[in-house]
Subunit: 228 residues, 2 copies
Amino acid sequence: MSGAILYHFPFDPASRIARLALAEARIEYTETLVRPWEPDCPLGQMNPSGMPPVLRLDDGRGRSLTLCELGPILGWIEDEQKGPLLLPRDPTERAEARRLTAWFERRFSEDVNAVLLHERLEKPLLRLGPPEARALRDGRAALKEHLLILEGLAGSRDRLAGRNLSQADLVAAAHLSVLDYFGEITWANWPSLKDWYVKMKSRPSFRSLLADRFQGLAPAAWYADLDF
Amino acid sequence: MSGAILYHFPFDPASRIARLALAEARIEYTETLVRPWEPDCPLGQMNPSGMPPVLRLDDGRGRSLTLCELGPILGWIEDEQKGPLLLPRDPTERAEARRLTAWFERRFSEDVNAVLLHERLEKPLLRLGPPEARALRDGRAALKEHLLILEGLAGSRDRLAGRNLSQADLVAAAHLSVLDYFGEITWANWPSLKDWYVKMKSRPSFRSLLADRFQGLAPAAWYADLDF
């Protein structure tokens, strides 16, 4: 494929996962920022769900491939590799990387993002008024339960799925990075997870995420700091 | 691996997908039926989410591998194959099979199953009282929208993701088969989808699903009929 365009929204966790995975795989791409809640968003024509991320590949000879959202994008990236990149070779770690990916995309998204990111991110974007105290409290309580589980994993393994870097690390770091921008993670409470996140944040693939800025809101003081 | 045990609940769509995929791959397994809502369910010790399906593999020499839910199970089955089985080789069909899998596991589950299966299946199991008319109406309206999309796919392709059988067909057929048991699908309204479903239902992998019976409730008259 000679050309790749990533259609993404910088504060969408799945879009961040795609950016990290493409950067880890050293696949060059151009980017088009999209706002999926706006009626003229080009994703309406490309993805039946209308959601980012979408990766459009073009071979320069009139053939193209449209990859809609994470499953197709991560799967295609791994298919293109000569050796394991997103999924470790070891069967246990491989299963764990897949389990944790689904855990974030389903559980974490429903328990935490649908509540906390709705209040902090979607409401200002869609002008839905100020956040509600009760929803913030519920979302933060759910986040705490997930962080407790992740602290356990980070304390007992080098990487979230085992000894090797995998898509589980990219998925988790992307999700946490969005919440971190909004100052929702008190890292001092989660020392093992913090050590893991420092390592993730220091990777070259993470740089562009740390440069993202949300309309009219500065990130938490430590957001882009590699030594926080 | 010398032994495989599938822990599943027969009316859980994901459990049905695992059974179909194992049968299509001709992987022999023994089964343990579980009731994940009961406090002593063995899945509590095997899967952090507590949910089925879980596939436990044992190599007979003390090493085992626990595959929790669909991503790890389908991924492992495909890893074990010599050629493509669940994911077609053609890049477009491969992406489409992955997209549709995520569509069902996320969208269809949230829009339809969380409403309609909650009323028809979870409420009797958990003794939560009779179904609510409003929820049934909402769930059926959401199901209709999804069936409209699937009718379009089935009318323009041999299989849901393209020319070849893929995991998209297994995923879709498993989800629809549960709703069909409860008589929720009026097949006459969806002629192309019906043709596709007749083919799916006729596969040997489907036989055990058609023999499932739900406590105290007979299936729709046509449920196990291959020529309906």
